[in-house]
Every structure is written in C-alpha cells, then in structure tokens.
C-alpha cells in the first residue's frame, strides 16, 4: 500500500477524532466468546458500543468479526452447536439471559447482510414494511408512513416512490441494499448491525451507502464489519481490531476510537494491520 494512500486513511481517521467524547453505551460486551461444537471462534471481546456512533469491527479473514456481529442479535440461536458466553448488554439488559425475548431483541437490533437479500416475492413497499407485518402491524396508515420514512432515511424514496408495487428484484444491487437498510430502519431499531454491507457493491453504490451511514448515526447506533480499512477510517468513530490467534480462534486485540487505532495504537499488531503489512 503506498504512502499517499495511507496518509489519506490517517487524515480520514483524524477527522473522525473531532467527534465528541463517547457518550453512553447502547450495547456493552463483557468477555464475549462464541464457540461452535466446543471450538472457539471468537473470544475476549470486551468493549462498549456507544450511542449514535459508528463502531467498526476490522481484522483479517477468520478473525471472528462476523461471528461476533451475529451474536449481537442472537442469529446464532438456530445454528446447531453454537454457544455464546460472557455478557452482551442492550441498555443494561443481558440479551441472552434477561427478560428480553429474541423477537423483541431483533426488532431493537436490526441487521443488514453482506449480500443484498430483499424478499424476492415481495414488492418494494412490502419489503420495506415486512418487519412491521411480521410483528403483527396491519394498519395501512402506519405501514404507509413507515414505508415512506424508512425509504427516505435510506435515500431511496425519490427513486422508487412511483414504483412501490414493483418487485424488489428489479432494483439494482445498490438500491436493493438500501432497501434492506430501509427494511431494517422501518422497525425503528436502536442499533443497526451491518455485515460488510458494501462488499457486493460497486464503488459508487458503496459511496452512497457510506454517506448514508454517517447520516444514519444521528438516529441509530451503527456497528459495521468491514474488510476495507479505508472504509473503517472514513466512516467509523470507534474501532475494534480482531485477529486470529494461534489456535485459530479470533480475539479482540484492541478497541479504541478510530483515530487512536489508525494513528496511535497500543498493540504493534494493530499498527501492522492498519499499515497493510499483513491481512
């Protein structure tokens, strides 16, 4: 990686440091570990996800970023042999052992996946309000309003408002991903998890999603997994760096503001990674 590029990455990160002090935590992770059939996939994860900030999870393949992210809205529940230990708190409540039901959790913690996955048999409108319908909301006025608000928030309303009844699969990849973001936003979640949301998109569509994320954080806390360090530097306020240990289990190496992680990390491995020396 050339120096000019790295300088740009660092400047992006410095700009981020102007963000205010980390406020209250939306979610707290305390010594979280995920294992499959007794094999640890990721461990030692202790950090706070601050409200109205973008937290990025970075690290090479196999470091457990996605596994950790999926633990945050209990998507491992249906995987046979999966076990999550430690504590994950949402507004102070343990999401695995507290009173909160998995359905409620998932409506408060939304998810956007790596590949755009709108429901192929539904129209754009039906996709946008699908979460509300799954949760029993039928009143048309509420659905209409939620569809418009969420599509606007996802910067999609202007281009689709005249064809809401069209099948979602007619949209381009970038539009489909924004529809998936709208679908998650329609539930009015407190936290939005994004698993490499731009890895299947072209650079222009990627840019639009990134712009979207920076505006979204005013109303929702964003956690994003990304392979793209430039992206992490550009859009995230806080950054967690994970790395695969010798026993092939991922673990948290360092967590701090993005500015610190990219410019002045404590662990030399973090510096090596952000400088592009490996991974």
């Amino acid at each position: 990686m050339d120096q000019e590029f790295m300088a740009q990455v660092k400047m992006d990160a410095v700009e981020k440091s102007k963000a205010p002090d980390r406020g209250t935590a939306a979610m707290q992770l305390k010594n979280v570990a995920v294992s499959f059939h007794g094999r640890t996939a990721v461990r030692n994860c202790t950090f706070d996800i601050s409200k109205n900030r973008v937290t990025s999870l970075i690290g090479p393949s196999g470091s457990g970023k996605t596994t950790l992210l999926r633990a945050l809205n209990r998507l491992h529940d249906l995987t046979p042999g999966a076990k999550v230990t430690g504590q994950i708190l949402l507004e102070g409540e343990d999401i695995y052992r507290g009173d909160i039901t998995v359905t409620e959790l998932r409506s408060r913690v939304g998810m956007v996946f790596q590949r755009p996955n709108p429901f192929p048999t539904m129209s754009i409108y039906d996709n946008a309000v699908s979460g509300l319908r799954f949760n029993g909301i039928k009143k048309k006025s509420i659905l209409d309003e939620a569809a418009e608000t969420s599509l606007r928030s996802a910067a999609l309303w202007d281009s689709v408002q005249s064809r809401l009844k069209v099948a979602a699969s007619n949209l381009s990849g970038g539009e489909q991903q924004r529809l998936c973001i709208a679908r998650a936003l329609a539930m009015d979640p407190e936290v939005l998890l994004m698993d490499e949301p731009t890895s299947a998109l072209d650079p222009i569509a990627t840019l639009r999603i990134e712009e979207l994320m920076t505006t979204l954080k005013q109303r929702v806390t964003v956690v994003i997994v990304t392979h793209n360090m430039q992206q992490a530097a550009r859009i995230s306020d806080d950054c967690a760096f994970l790395l695969m240990g010798e026993d092939r289990a991922g673990e948290l190496i360092e967590f701090d503001t993005t500015e610190k992680i990219f410019n002045n990390p404590i662990d030399p491995r973090t510096l090596d990674y952000t400088l592009g020396r490996f991974g």
């Binding site: 809205n73 998507l75 249906l78 046979p80 359905t103 409620e104 959790l105 998932r106 409506s107 939304g110 998810m111 996946f113 590949r115 996955n117 709108p118 429901f119 192929p120 048999t121 539904m122 699908s130 979460g131 319908r133 799954f134 949760n135 099948a167 699969s169 998936c180 679908r183 998650a184 539930m187």
Partner: protein, 310 residues
C-alpha cells in the same frame, strides 16, 4: 524461466510463444474437427433411435384415436355393450372422463396439504422424525403402484366399509402422489437461500412466519410444478384404482359412488371380444395423453411466467 531472463526481450518472447501456440493449434485442427463431426453423428443416431418408437406410438395413437374422439357421443354417452345386432354400439366414455377428473381432484385435495406441509417440515428440520419421514417417502416413491391399490382395498374398501367408491380410488391415488409432492416440496424449500431466512429472523419474525411468509412464497414455483407432475402421474395410473373404484357405469362426482377412470376403461376395453370396443381404446388413450400433456404444459408455462416476474 532462465531462458526468458537471458533473452531479455519479454515482448519478443511473448510473440514467439503466441506463434508457437498458433502453430500447434493449427496442426490439430483437422483432427479435432473430424472428432467433433463423429460425435455429432453419433448423437444424431441416438436421437433417431429414441424418437422412432415415440413417433410410431404417436402416429398410431392419432391415426386410430382421432376417428374415435371426433364423435361427440364419445364424450357424452355412457358405455354400451355391443351385441350381434349392433356390433358397433360402443357408446361413449363420459363416466371415465368424469371419473378421472373427480378422482384426481379428490386425490389432489387429500395429498397437496399433507404433502407440502411434510415437505416444508423435512426441509426445515433436522430431527430424527424428519429423517424417518424422508426415508419413508423415498421408499413410497419407489413402491409399485398396485401396492397403493391393495392398501386402499384392504383399508378403505374393506376395513372402513367404504366400498368400491371414488373415495377409495382417490385415496389410493393420493397415497401415490404424496411422496412425489413431499420430495419436490422439500427440494424447492431447500433451494430457498438461507440469507432470506436470516433476513426474516433478523427482522424479529418468528420461525413459523419465516416459513409461511418468506420461504413458502419463494419456493412456490417448484412446489406447484411438483404437484402438477404428481397429478399427471396419478391420472394415468391403472393399478391403484383397478381394485377399488368399482368401474361404475354412471356419471357421478359423488365421493361415495362407484366411478370409472380412463386407464381402467382402456384396460377393460382392451380385453373385450368386440373389435369396436378395442378400437375405442385408442380414443381413450388419446384423451388421456392430451390430459397429461395439457397439465405438464401448463405447469411449464406457469413456472416460466413466475420466473420472469421475479
């Protein structure tokens, strides 16, 4: 590798290599073309061998069947037994046409809900029960169809005292259709990408809602195609209905009446001593073939329309 470094003219090397590649491929071209032609010829022969019997069959079917089916009375009249005075008084097969329709409708009504539900369950569950059901349905799919007839005879006709009825026949056909529907539904549901299920779960949908509202609609093309194939297989089956429907010479849609069916009429007429009845067989066969053809054609058209709408 070392040659290239010594030459120090990478572009020149590239040029020579390209020329060499072209030379070699030029040399083998004639041989490859000859081999390709032989393969095409062999395939054409194989095509001819397979299509000749099929064409002969269709030719005979239309040549002998068309004159029969062009008589309106073929569709409107009940069968008659020819006599020495009127050796050509065969009547029609209205009872068998109606009977076949009634049998397949009743059978579909019985088999579709159960079959689709079991198929979805098999696709979505890893339980021991699911594994057992899968083995059972695969075994049933390979079982001889006369077995379904025997089962319906001993269970519905005798044990339940239902008698020789459309109900017993459609039960036998439903048992025959069931594994086809189960297997094709399972395949269709398994084909739905997991990311869609996760998207639904991540929106807070309960697992049964994910199955009903996301997975089933996404799999519906495959499921319906399987259902239509099952119906078209059942409508042509003789063995399962042979023992149980009674071969009634009446036009009835009632489940507890004895009915006839197209394949059964073929079987009975073909055994007849009257040439006129034996000729009528071709007409019945033609009607049956048209039924099955229309069914599978509509399945294909429906599936491709559905695919385009995506």
């Amino acid at each position: 590798m070392s040659d290239i470094i010594e030459l120090q003219h990478p572009q020149q090397v590239g040029h020579e290599m390209r020329a060499e590649i072209r030379r070699i491929s030029e040399r083998g071209r004639g041989r490859r073309q000859l081999r390709s032609r032989i393969m095409v010829a062999l395939c054409s022969v194989a095509l001819a061998i397979t299509s000749v019997p099929l064409l002969l069959l269709l030719y005979q079917l239309f040549q002998r069947g068309l004159p029969v089916v062009l008589h309106p009375s073929f569709y409107t009249q009940l069968p008659q037994t020819p006599s020495l005075v009127a050796p050509n008084a065969t009547g029609g097969v209205s009872n068998a046409i109606l009977g076949s329709l009634v049998l397949s409708v009743y059978a579909a009504v019985m088999a579709i809900p159960v079959g689709v539900m079991v198929g979805v369950y098999l696709a979505e569950s890893d339980s021991k029960l699911a594994a057992m059901l899968r083995i059972i349905s695969q075994t049933m799919a390979g079982a001889p169809s006369i077995l379904m007839g025997l089962f319906a005879f001993s269970f519905v006709v005798r044990a339940l005292h239902v008698g020789y009825t459309a109900l017993a026949g459609s039960f036998a056909l439903a048992v025959l259709m069931l594994p086809v529907i189960v297997i094709s539904s399972e395949i269709a549901v398994r084909g739905v990408p997991n990311t869609l299920r996760e998207a639904g779960l991540a929106l807070g949908a309960k697992p049964h809602k994910v199955s009903m509202r996301i997975v089933l609609p996404a799999a519906v093309t495959g499921i319906v195609t399987g259902i239509i194939l099952a119906i078209s297989r059942a409508i042509g089956e003789t063995a399962p209905v042979l023992l149980v429907i009674g071969g009634g010479y009446i036009n009835s849609w009632k489940p507890l009446d004895p009915v006839s069916a197209l394949p059964l009429s073929i079987y009975e007429n073909a055994k007849s001593q009257w040439p006129s009845l034996r000729t009528q067989v071709w007409g019945i066969a033609l009607v049956l073939v048209v039924f099955v053809f229309v069914l599978s054609l509509s399945a294909r058209i429906w599936a491709s329309r559905k695919q385009q709408a995506r």
